[in-house]
């Protein structure tokens, strides 16, 4: 019997190649999407679970309660906390502190800039990062020891054994030799901690031995006793902090933040985005969105399957009738049709793996992962696939099997089977398909438009041909000055503006009102270089020596926030940076977007203190001979800092980086939209061709009676187009709602734009019309004699 079913399935497929192709190909795309998302989700959920200690491993967290009652939790601590807690609390067995620095290293004569990790010496015994060479208990024992990854051993030492080699690391113009004592295997891609060079924390500690109770910058991890009471330990940690840190004295001095200590299971770290500065955090919403998209695509493919099987059932009604007449029961026929669905899904599944494998490199780029199909083969995932397979078989095969097996043999054999033209299910499913497709089209257009809007927003300064170069020589004022002068003298360089590195926010008091502001140390070159105009007053200037200590510039947002009426020039800021200063406003700068457009422009204060070293240089260069100008700057840089690799960034590239996530989502959503439209349309193609087949005689009669090609193709197209119109009406409010929710992420949103919806309508209509017309025009131009004869 099974052989008979299989035979029939394959013969049916080869006879109806187009439908078999649509069904199998559509399903396999949907399944491939599911496979990729399975991979992605598995990877996300498996993060950090390869460590042996996971049940006892926790991250130290600090919740900071600021003076206004705001709570923020951080995944970092000071250099002292983990150590102090372990000393006092016996349930804490071990602790590991980490920190990364971008440093210049030297191997032989060559220097490079690398990220160097510092870790306590028990790092390799607490975490399960296997070593190829070296003993996990002692590799970081020596203060100047260093472990490098196998990749780096190869990169820097080739085929030579790296053990015992010297890597020099620069601190304050001095190169300190570290010895390679171990080689680590490449860190797994599902590890939050990823390193290529890791050195002993003891050395870092020796440079800054002072315990820092109130500076948070070290990710710290604790190993607890088996079955330890985490809550009780957190309480004990708080007690230790309260008694040892001396925060009471700090509070008297005006320190108004409260630290609340806690523990987070190490394996929960990756998917918890609420804890700031945890290592490698991923927002689980990505997994949800991707899963929804995969499900969308699979549903659409299953709908094709159901629709085509049901629509094709007329063709198969004779077979069903015959089988019933000669003794086939409904149950047997049901099994037969489910069997057909099973076979097709099985082929689709095989094809899906192939598609997934082929599209994996592209998916990896999108998802920023290094997934491989081999990753799939574990018992749980295989069980998951079997389940997915069975669900797909049922979703696609159950309803058609029910309908087809229920045909009345007498009606089928005497050609009395008519298919109700109402057929709400097929129509409903087509509406559902196109609603999903339209939803995604509108979503794509939302993202495109908002991104375009962001790119066109006037930032308030000119980010073209503007680059930044940082020099990490904090105290060497002369060198910084030299760099500025030499670069400014280069042909092609228009101006050079030193500023302070990093983003600083400070609080101040103006007219008795507390105010939070972005704080920038600049020179007089800053505004002309950025091409930011002054609204009133003047820029800092060498002609006013008093500028360096007593004067400030503010932006318009500052003036607005404080509520100064009339001119702001001459007004004073009583307190800034927690100090009484009495600073006089000499100029108001037009607001400009110093952050991404996710954020509103906040108040900004500029000071010009000649005693502060300004290590970041904004360099405006001419459009012509850019590469020559850059080479000139590099030459100046390497002359002054011979061991430092020259690095620069164009500000417009930096700005683009703000929208990297959006760019990624733009690609993902547009890909999903294209796939859903594609699958929906191949389904539509199948349905329209079946509709034409059903009406061959009608078309023939109408033509004989004088209908034109246009009239006939309208007749065939009308029904489908009205379904698509309904789908559009359903999708618009949903997409509008989702789009608006998404736009809430931005302080600056594109204006409401009805053309998005219009464009979506045009796209969906054009694509579906093209799909249907192919069939309907073909039917309309067929010679009626032929169609009537075929009846």
């Amino acid at each position: 019997m099974i052989k008979n079913y299989l035979l029939l399935t394959f013969r049916n497929m080869s006879r109806n190649k187009v439908f078999a192709f649509i069904n199998i190909f559509g399903l396999s795309i949907g399944l491939a999407a599911c496979i990729l998302i399975f991979l992605y989700t598995k990877d996300e959920l498996s993060f950090d679970r390869f460590h042996q200690n996971t049940s006892r491993l926790y991250q130290l967290t600090c919740t900071v309660k600021s003076h206004d009652g705001k709570l923020e939790t951080y995944g970092i601590a000071g250099n002292i906390h983990a150590e102090a807690f372990k000393a006092e609390i016996p349930e804490i067995k071990e602790f590991v502190r980490l920190r990364d620095d971008d440093l210049v290293i030297k191997i032989g004569d060559q220097s490079y800039e690398e990220k160097l990790w510092w870790a306590d010496k028990n790092f390799f015994s607490v975490f399960s990062f296997p070593l190829i060479e070296g003993d996990k208990n002692s590799v970081l024992k020596d203060m100047k020891s260093m472990v490098i990854s196998e990749e780096y051993a190869k990169k820097y030492f080739g085929n030579e054994n790296a053990i015992g080699k010297i890597i020099e690391v620069e601190f304050d113009d001095q190169f300190v030799p570290f010895t390679v004592t171990g080689i680590a295997k490449k860190t797994p891609q599902n590890s939050s901690i990823k390193f290529d060079m890791i050195a002993s924390f003891d050395y870092l500690q020796s440079m800054n031995p002072k315990p820092a109770w109130f500076m948070l910058s070290y990710p710290s991890f604790l190993v607890l006793n088996e079955n330890a009471d985490v809550k009780a330990i957190a309480n004990s940690m708080q007690k230790v902090y309260n008694s040892k840190s001396g925060y009471q004295k700090m509070e008297k001095d005006g320190f108004d933040s409260k630290f609340i200590w806690g523990l987070q299971p190490f394996v929960d770290m990756h998917l918890n985005k609420d804890i700031k500065y945890s290592m490698s955090v991923s927002d689980p919403v990505y997994s949800y969105i991707l899963s929804c998209i995969a499900l969308f695509i699979l549903i659409i493919a299953c709908i094709n399957f159901v629709n085509l099987m049901v629509a094709q059932s007329l063709k198969r009604s004779k077979e069903i009738g015959v089988r019933k007449v000669i003794g086939g029961s409904r149950k047997q026929l049901f099994v037969q049709f489910i069997g057909e669905a099973f076979t097709m899904c099985f082929i689709a599944f095989g094809l899906a793996f192939l598609i997934a494998e082929l599209s994996l490199p592209y998916f990896n780029t999108l998802a920023e992962k290094e997934l491989s199909i081999g990753y799939l083969f574990d018992a749980k995932l295989i069980a998951g696939f079997v389940l997915l397979f069975l669900i797909t078989v049922l979703a696609s095969g159950f309803y058609p099997a029910l309908v087809l097996s229920g045909f009345d043999p007498v009606r089928t054999l005497y050609n009395r089977t008519t298919f109700s033209s109402k057929n709400y299910l097929v129509k409903g499913l087509v509406v559902l398909q196109f609603s999903l497709a339209t939803f995604l089209i509108i979503g794509t257009l939302f993202i495109y438009n908002q991104l375009n809007f962001l790119k066109k927003v006037d930032l308030g300064y000119d980010d073209k041909n503007l680059l930044q170069v940082s020099i990490s020589k904090g105290d060497n004022m002369a060198l910084l000055r030299q760099f500025q002068d030499k670069v400014a003298a280069l042909p092609g360089v228009e101006s050079v503006a030193p500023t302070m590195d990093g983003d600083w926010v400070t609080s101040g008091k103006v007219d008795g009102k507390n105010i939070e502001a972005k704080y920038d140390f600049i020179g007089e070159e800053f505004l002309p270089t950025m091409k930011v105009p002054l609204i009133e007053g003047r820029n800092f200037s060498k002609e006013f020596p008093g500028d360096t200590s007593t004067c400030v510039l503010v932006n318009q947002a500052f003036v607005k926030e404080v509520g100064w009426k009339g001119s702001a020039i001459g007004k004073t800021i009583k307190e800034l940076n927690g100090m009484e200063q009495n600073l006089k406003v000499v100029g108001v700068v037009r607001d400009y977007h110093f952050e991404s457009l996710h954020e509103k422009i906040i108040p900004q204060v500029f000071t010009c203190d000649k005693m502060v070293t300004l290590q970041r240089f904004l360099i405006s260069i001419g459009q012509k001979n850019k590469s020559k100008t850059l080479a000139g700057i590099e030459q100046v840089y390497t002359q002054l800092l011979p061991y430092h690799p020259f690095k620069y960034e164009f500000i417009d590239d930096v700005n683009k980086q703000y929208y990297k996530a959006e760019d990624k989502w733009k690609q993902i959503i547009s890909m999903a939209a294209i796939l859903t439209i594609f699958i929906s349309c191949i389904g539509l193609f199948g349905l329209s061709s079946l509709a034409v087949q059903k009406r061959v005689k009608e078309i023939g009669v109408r033509k004989v009676l004088g209908a034109s090609v246009m009239q006939i193709s309208n007749l065939l197209t009308r029904n489908f187009i009205s379904l698509i119109a309904i789908a559009f009406v359903i999708a618009v409010p949903a997409a509008w709602y989702a789009g608006n929710m998404w736009l809430q992420n931005y302080a600056y949103r594109m204006p409401f734009n009805a053309s998005i919806f219009l464009l979506a309508l045009v796209i969906i209509l054009v694509v579906s019309l093209a799909t249907i017309s192919f069939q309907s025009i073909k039917a309309a131009i067929t010679n009626p004699v032929k169609s009537l004869r075929s009846e």
């Binding site: 008979n4 035979l7 013969r11 006879r15 077979e319 089988r323 019933k324 007449v325 003794g327 029961s329």
Partner: protein, 225 residues
């Protein structure tokens, strides 16, 4: 073998009720060859479908081999059908996707006959119908006469006691038609009861008895023997 009494069958649409069988009573004995004749739409095919348990009647009694089957459900009727009744249609109704051999084999599959026995029986019947050489062909590759021979082969492969034929020669030329009629006659001579709906006076002459119908009722019965 078959006894129907006061059998009624209606077709209803929203507004119209059509009487297809109007209190019809017939008895057919084992081994008979009966032709049912009458103008188009007089209820011949409906009668055949009711007799074949493909369709149900609205009123009356139907004794099949002495058992009242009028109230049987779909499953019970399928059971009787596959064990006792073979069907031959005007338009052959072969499954296009199956070969000659597979078409003939199908009833045996539904009867759960073992593969080895199936092979023997299918080959035997194909041989008898003289289409053995075409067993691997598909229906579209055969002439009308050949297709109807395959249909007859399929109808008799499970040795039914009753064959219901609905205009078996309607789509055939006269020489092919005669061949098929000869096949049916041969089967009848070996004991199979045959009820045949036909428009052809020529074909009806092969039967023992002609039942003439009009508007859903029997009008005359001619005995030809």
């Amino acid at each position: 073998m078959i006894k129907i009494t006061n059998l009624e069958k209606y077709y209803r649409t929203d507004e119209v009720e059509t009487v297809a069988l109007n209190k019809i009573s017939i008895e057919i004995k084992q081994g008979e060859f009966v032709a049912v004749m009458g103008p188009s739409g007089c209820g011949k095919s409906t009668l055949l479908n009711v007799l074949g348990l493909l369709d149900d009647a609205d009123n009356g009694s139907y004794l099949f081999n002495g058992t009242e089957v009028i109230k049987y459900n779909e499953r019970q009727r399928a059971q009787i059908r596959k064990q006792n009744i073979g069907f031959v249609f005007q338009s052959f109704n072969l499954i296009d996707e199956l070969s000659v051999y597979e078409n003939v084999e199908l009833p045996l599959i539904y009867l759960d006959v073992k593969p080895s026995e199936r092979k023997t029986r299918v080959e035997e019947v194909l041989d008898k119908m003289q289409i053995m050489h075409r067993k691997k062909h598909f229906p579209q590759q055969l002439s009308g006469g050949q297709q109807q021979r395959v249909a007859v082969a399929r109808a008799v492969v499970n040795n039914p006691k009753l064959i219901l034929a609905d205009e078996p020669t309607g789509n055939l030329d006269s020489s092919n038609g005669n061949e098929v009629m000869q096949l049916l006659t041969d089967l009848n001579e070996k004991g199979t009861t045959i009820i045949m709906v036909t428009h052809s006076e020529h074909d009806s002459k092969y039967s023992h008895r002609i039942i003439r119908m009009l508007d859903g009722a029997t009008v005359t019965e001619n005995i030809l023997m």
